[in-house]
Symmetry: C2
Subunit: 358 residues, 2 copies
């Protein structure tokens, strides 16, 4: 049985590590929360597995954790934010908060972010809009990991798209998907754990299909569904990058490999204040009816339950809050190495009982 | 060699057929233009192949071609349109035009449409925004054709997503994709032509994989990339339907099979006025740099050219304008049958020389 760790302990450790590397408390806590949020939801590819690289980039001055992002109003409903090279989780929360505020006035609003960094899981920001009965559309670009259709070398990132809708009760609808067949983090995870990857996930450096996770990291993960997935990833690159003034395609720096310059990642946050289009109760009734019909839809043999996007993650999140968070194997050692490097207390020095904490 | 037909002749015939079935001139011409536009771009699944069903629905009072859509402002940047059951191409042009106008004031704007019908190819509307240097995000729902992941029966439509960005020169970026592995229209087309479909496109009525196009029409086409594609289709359903007050999932009526009620299709149009975020020249320079880098990216063996979304379609469109439009086999007979039913001149009664006309 895998050990589980309390949400509070994980958050404290992560914030402590980021703080020791130089991040102000609020920034450290926000970034830590975003990573723990991902682990709680079972998205370990975007969880504490990223803490070592985040910390390393901060230590090597590739991230400016003490720079406050600058927000500029462009028109009644459109804003741009200069992330000033702070962490993506921090600029993202700032940007999403501004977008929510703006949509309250105009019904729909947009905040585009430039000069940011890897922002983790987009759902972390989208959930802020859900609390305010807004729909969120969140995207980001990322450094080059996927080839164009017919290409041999990476050109676009596995740029994520998140679309989230509030519900009356139960798990909100929360699509949060990479535009690759799988998230690159899952290939990193397989490589770290010495596991092969399924066919169709990636090509090697020569553009040939591979099941070797390390070879895939040298090569490229493939876009979802061929030309459509590449087109979607490119569209999100243009929205996150070309529109905001951030990097796009070749000009987004690789978080793991480029130590010469900041990443210049771009994000885009679109919020829709549902209540301005129709009574929010009507919308939620409509959602409930839709989800009820979906859950009652006939199942294929072998399928016990039809799930919608975000449902499984919400269950895991609740379970993690109740019973602690399961971490991927191998990560504990990495976190202890990190603690040693930073001169902070190692992760869970004694085998403490779990604390149930949110 | 397949025969090619002039754009003008096709448009006249289609508008004539719709007019004979009762559509006012402006509505008939708009719908005709949208169908010819699709055929010009090689998207024959959304071209004149739809004329017989459009006409039939009009004749059987399932479409209200003389009802003017009603636009209601909900907030500074958000609008709703009651399509009043007019054709999707017509409500779509009205809605997109309103969205473009609104985004000029607020930077980003949204127009949601309810009580509409099948709107053809989303690119037809997006191109209107491109002319005004705006980014367009267009989606629609459709009647149930794809099962949820693990499901046996269709629950969502192959709801399309279109994202379009203007460029300084050359083909605009124009992603216009169904959320199925392929557009259902391509299965219809295969069925009409007695062709098998590739593996992985669809399941039959029992939920089993099939290569028989007719069996696939009885069953369901599959979402792009499994759960991600289903999640995306569902997100677009919620944006087009739940948000606008249109049908969604089970409450969008099938255009081909349901003759008891109008379709109640929903659409969503989001426009972003780029010039309010940055000088449009800067954006276009950024786009040009991006596309140049993409085209110069290393190619896999066997690939002659890397293409981006909309590029091939733009070339075909130009070729069609120059040399005429190629129609899918079998369609000519259908169009002549339609002419007979409507009591109008048959399609191309004499073998006229091509007219080069836009």
């Amino acid at each position: 049985m895998r050990r589980r760790f309390s949400v509070r302990d994980l958050g404290r450790f992560a914030a402590g590590a980021l703080g020791a590397a130089g991040a102000p408390t609020e920034v450290a806590e926000t970034v830590a929360e975003s990573l723990v949020f991902a682990d709680m939801r079972g998205i370990s590819s975007h969880g504490l597995v990223r803490l070592p690289i985040y910390t390393e980039r901060l230590l090597r001055s590739m991230v400016s954790a003490d720079a406050e992002p600058e927000l500029k109003q462009c028109s009644a409903a459109a804003w741009l934010m200069d992330g000033r090279n702070n962490f993506g989780a921090y600029t993202g929360v700032r940007a999403m908060t501004a977008a929510i505020e703006a949509a309250r006035k105009t019904g729909i609003a947009l905040v585009g972010v430039s000069r940011s960094n890897h922002f983790g899981t987009a759902a972390y920001f989208a959930r802020l809009a859900l609390k305010e009965n807004q729909i969120a559309i969140v995207t980001s670009n990322a450094s080059q990991t996927m080839p164009p259709t017919g290409g041999r070398r990476p050109f676009v990132g596995t740029n994520p798209l998140c679309i989230a809708c509030p519900v009356a009760e139960g798990a909100p609808f929360m699509l949060d998907m990479a535009t690759s067949v799988v998230a690159r983090g899952k290939v990193i995870f397989a490589a770290q754990n010495g596991q092969p990857i399924p066919e169709g996930w990636a090509v090697d450096a020569q553009g040939l299909p591979t099941r070797d996770a390390l070879a895939a990291l040298d090569g490229a993960v493939l876009p979802l569904g061929g030309p459509k997935g590449f087109g979607l990833a490119m569209a999100l690159d243009l929205l996150s990058g070309a529109l905001t003034g951030a990097g796009a395609g070749p000009t987004v720096r690789n978080m793991y490999e480029d130590w010469s310059e900041p990443q210049n990642v771009g994000h885009l946050f679109i919020t829709i204040d549902i209540g301005q289009l129709q009574p929010i109760e009507d919308f939620k009734a409509r959602m409930a009816e839709y989800l009820t019909a979906l859950k009652a839809s006939p199942r294929a043999p072998g399928c016990d339950e039809l799930l919608y996007a975000g449902e499984l993650e919400a269950r895991r999140q609740e379970e993690s809050a109740q019973s602690g968070v399961a971490l991927p194997g191998g990560l504990l050692d990495e976190l202890d190495t990190l603690a040693g490097r930073l001169g902070i207390d190692p992760f869970l020095p004694v085998d403490r009982p779990l604390q149930n904490s949110g």
